[in-house]
């Protein structure tokens, strides 16, 4: 295993660069995740609308309407004087005033009823209260037309309004990510940087012409040498993956492990690592000098991250960019991550979409390795 040991020794010698990439990425992640935690979008408290009802009709219908509004909102009793009502609305002691005129019930039965409402102009509260009143009256009218007496219709509507349904949230649009989902969104950048820089620079050292001659002259088969290098390559990639996962666990481990999508996150990031290693293998096939590697790494990692929705969300990317990005493996990773970040439990079709994403990434991986092997073979023939 001397070739493998040599590979790892050289990796150790390049650990400084890896540490630099990792520390930059992890520091930025820390800073951004701290900002995420101070977001107040989820610190929601329910508030009730303040409604004043002036009932001049005192009929069963008007009373039923008053009672319904009382159950839905907070009633603010006020004196039936125009200036008192106007002052209360102006001072926001009430947000919605509804005046039920005399003969309202009679007019309702002929369909000519009119309600006088006062509300804060263009306020959503006012619209909400309007909708509540309309819905109540529509329900009563429907039941009345169906043969119920007005009193019965009012009672049935009240009964129906009191029924509540148990709702459990199965799909949640979390426009605000948890810390771990944020790290998974940005993970391609660090994985690509590490994979495209460290393994190729080590492989390049082994590929120096005279050094290769010297190693090939030794009593170790070239097959064994290649396998040992491959092992080093793969272990290094897995090491980068594990390192990122440890970072996820350190930052938001509890939430991550409680997520029902843990296995999908792991699978997706493993596919990403394999694709990154395949890209790195292809780079090292073409690479002749190590001074170009830094530039190549930056072009590939930044280019793909911008095009495939790492730095800019996929939803903000134009159609043409998205179409182009589909020819890049990172797009499918980000596509999966954005789905996983949206849903708590995946449906059958969503699961299928995730597996499709894994499959496409692995196909990219196979294709890239095949190209690299072909180029390698061709180059060896030319050299000979």
């Amino acid at each position: 295993m001397i070739v493998f040991k040599g590979f790892m020794k050289l990796v150790k010698k390049n650990a400084g660069i890896a540490l630099m990439y990792i520390s930059i990425f992890f520091s930025i992640s820390l800073m951004v995740s701290k900002n995420l935690n101070t977001n107040t979008d989820d610190s929601f408290t329910a508030s009730e609308l303040l409604v004043t009802v002036i009932d001049r009709d005192q009929s069963p219908l008007s009373e039923a309407l008053s009672a319904h509004l009382g159950e839905t909102f907070t009633l603010v009793p006020l004196e039936d004087k125009e200036n008192v009502l106007q002052d209360a609305l102006f001072n926001r002691r009430t947000q919605y005033i509804i005046q039920i005129p005399e003969n309202f019930q009679d007019d309702f039965q002929t369909g000519s009823q009119e309600l006088i409402t006062n509300k804060i102009p263009d306020s959503t509260n006012g619209m909400y209260a309007d909708q509540t009143v309309d819905a109540f009256l529509n329900d009563v009218r429907s039941l009345n037309l169906a043969g119920y007496s007005l009193e019965e219709a009012c009672q049935e509507t009240k009964k129906a309004a009191s029924v509540t349904a148990d709702i459990s949230l199965i799909s949640e649009d979390t426009s605000v990510f948890s810390t771990y989902s944020f790290i998974f969104v940005y993970m391609p950048y660090i994985i690509l940087c590490l994979c495209c820089y460290i393994p190729p620079i080590v492989l390049l050292a082994f590929r120096k012409k005279d050094l290769r001659t010297r190693i090939l002259s030794a009593p170790i088969s070239s097959r064994s040498q290649s396998l040992q290098l491959f092992l080093g390559f793969a272990l290094l990639g897995l090491g980068f993956w594990v390192l990122n996962l440890l970072f996820v666990l350190a930052m938001d481990g509890k939430a991550f492990l409680q997520s029902p999508n843990v296995s999908y996150y792991l699978g997706n990031s493993l596919c990403l690592t394999l694709v990154s290693l395949a890209i790195a293998f292809l780079i090292s096939t073409f690479l002749k000098r190590d001074d170009a590697l830094s530039a190549i790494t930056n072009v590939i990692s930044l280019g793909m991250c911008f095009l495939c929705g790492v730095f800019v969300p996929l939803t903000l990317l134009g159609d043409s960019v998205k179409k182009f990005a589909q020819f890049l493996p990172l797009y499918w990773y980000e596509n999966n991550v954005s789905l996983l970040n949206k849903v708590a439990i995946t449906t059958k079709s969503q699961t299928l979409q995730l597996y499709q994403g894994f499959g496409i990434q692995l196909l990219f991986c196979v294709a890239l390795v095949s190209i690299a092997l072909m180029v390698n073979k061709r180059m060896n023939v030319i050299e000979k």
């Binding site: 020794k9 050094l211 010297r214 190693i215 009593p219």
Partner: protein, 309 residues
């Protein structure tokens, strides 16, 4: 120890090795002398089974050499033309790594590395990285990496290219010591002085063929040139040159940039005759040199061109 028979290697239309034959005996420092592109490195790569060849047979230690001949490779050390070490490893780590390709036992390896460090006198530099070493020290490191496992056969491909004279002498002395310690050495170079200085037997190669083989003396005896006279800073006419060509034992005469180079077969008083002629014609002249034949003369006479053309 090494037997190469009718070796043919083509690169497309280019015939790199043209029925090359070599026979290297145990204990020799065998020199492969030829200009750049003559096929020296190709021959070595075929010998190490790094290159496939079209025709011929190679045996090392009496056995056929193939890419899978790991037993044979165990006894061979390679010192490539360019310094072939890992830039990111220290001197010690490099020697240890290359030793590890041959010797797996850690304890034994440590002893061998120490010995190699001592041999190339790099003990004081063992913690340094190659980039911090001078050209000469780098070459020594290159040699240490090739000899650390104490091979029976050492192949050196132009190990002194771009090395200062002092380091070159150190390296050549080291090669002699390796040979004295029992290693057979194949040494390629286009520096005839080096080959002449250290090799016990030499093969002159050009265009992939062995033109002549033998010791330095044997090779020199093969040619007509017994003496080369060089006279500088003199102005001669065509008439003078014609007269000189008629002098006894002269078989080749070149006059360029006021320098006369005459090659003569071995005889007494050659130089005196030339000086007498110049005195008689009242021709002033500068420095006069009389040289015994060199390998360059051998190469020139066999191929019609200078070794460094």
């Amino acid at each position: 120890m090494v037997h190469i028979e009718n070796l043919v290697k083509r690169y497309g239309d280019l015939l790199a090795l043209d029925h090359l034959n070599l026979d290297i005996k145990e204990g020799e420092i065998f020199g492969l002398l030829g200009p750049n592109g003559s096929g020296k490195t190709t021959a070595l790569n075929c010998l190490l089974a790094l290159l496939r060849y079209d025709k011929g047979r190679i045996t090392v230690f009496g056995k056929d050499m193939t890419p899978d001949s790991y037993e044979l490779k165990q006894g061979i050390g390679v010192i490539p033309q360019n310094v072939a070490v890992f830039d990111q490893m220290s001197v010690y780590e490099n020697i240890d790594y290359f030793c590890g390709l041959y010797v797996s036992d850690k304890k034994k390896r440590r002893a061998l590395v120490e010995e190699a460090l001592k041999f190339v006198e790099l003990g004081d530099y063992q913690k340094m990285r190659p980039k911090k070493l001078s050209g000469g020290l780098l070459r020594r490191l290159n040699i240490a990496c090739g000899i650390v496992h104490k091979p029976k056969l050492i192949i050196m491909d132009e190990p002194t290219v771009a090395v200062d004279p002092q380091s070159r002498n150190n390296i050549l002395e080291g090669i002699k010591r390796l040979n004295e310690n029992g290693s057979t050495i194949i040494y390629t170079s286009h520096y005839m002085e080096e080959v002449e200085q250290i090799c016990t037997r030499i093969a002159i190669i050009d265009k992939g063929q062995v033109l002549a083989t033998g010791s330095t003396e044997e090779l020199k005896a093969m040619i007509k040139t017994g003496e080369t006279i060089r006279i500088e800073n003199l102005v001669l006419t065509e008439e003078h040159l014609a007269d000189m060509r008629e002098l006894p034992h002269v078989y080749r005469l070149d006059y360029q940039e006021q320098t006369l180079v005459v090659r003569l077969s071995s005889a007494k008083h050659n130089l005196v005759r030339f000086l007498n002629y110049l005195q008689a014609k009242d021709i002033p002249f500068g420095r006069v040199l009389s040289e015994l034949p060199t390998l360059n003369d051998v190469f020139l006479e066999i191929t019609g061109k200078e070794l460094r053309d």
